[in-house]
């Protein structure tokens, strides 16, 4: 069963890993609905 399709997706990106908007672009192609996207910064 698909994980993202038709789900509400919350994104916690990382400035030194994958940032939020990049993940969001991916998630929508899998049929997920992005309800929140943010990027954390540890430095």
């Amino acid at each position: 069963m698909a994980i993202l399709k038709d789900k509400k997706v919350v994104i916690i990106g990382d400035r030194d890993g994958i940032p939020g908007p990049a993940i969001a672009d991916c998630a929508v192609t899998a049929g997920g609905e992005v309800v929140f996207s943010s990027t954390e910064c540890f430095v």
């Binding site: 994980i3 993202l4 509400k8 919350v10 994104i11 916690i12 990106g13 991916c26």
Partner: protein
């Protein structure tokens, strides 16, 4: 995890139902990914934020995990993420994420 982000996760879980929510992470390494995953499943292990003692048990993945990658349009993934696969220790991230999901995810 940032306190504001914890608050948002908690609100969305209440609004949409925990079973309808998936959390996607972009952390730069295994330990940080594991901590974030633990926060949205078992609760904030640092006891600092709104998710302290709140076990949402959400479905949580890192964007580089194979099951997520498989669902994403290949070209978009290539453009947005693929380069970082060479930079991050994906194996370690998968290991940490799988361990947390096995233990705490309810959905």
């Amino acid at each position: 995890m940032d306190l504001e982000n914890q608050k948002r996760v908690k609100e969305y879980a209440e609004q949409y139902g925990s079973e309808n929510l998936v959390v996607l992470l972009g952390a730069s390494e295994g330990e940080a990914a594991g901590l974030a995953a633990e926060t949205v499943t078992a609760g904030d292990p640092t006891y600092a934020g709104p998710l302290a003692g709140v076990s949402l048990g959400l479905k949580v993945y890192h964007i580089c995990e194979p099951e997520i990658k498989a669902e994403i349009d290949e070209a978009v993934y290539e453009e947005q993420v693929s380069m970082m696969e060479m930079v991050l220790d994906v194996e370690d991230i998968i290991k940490e994420m799988s361990a947390i999901r096995e233990q705490y995810t309810k959905y």
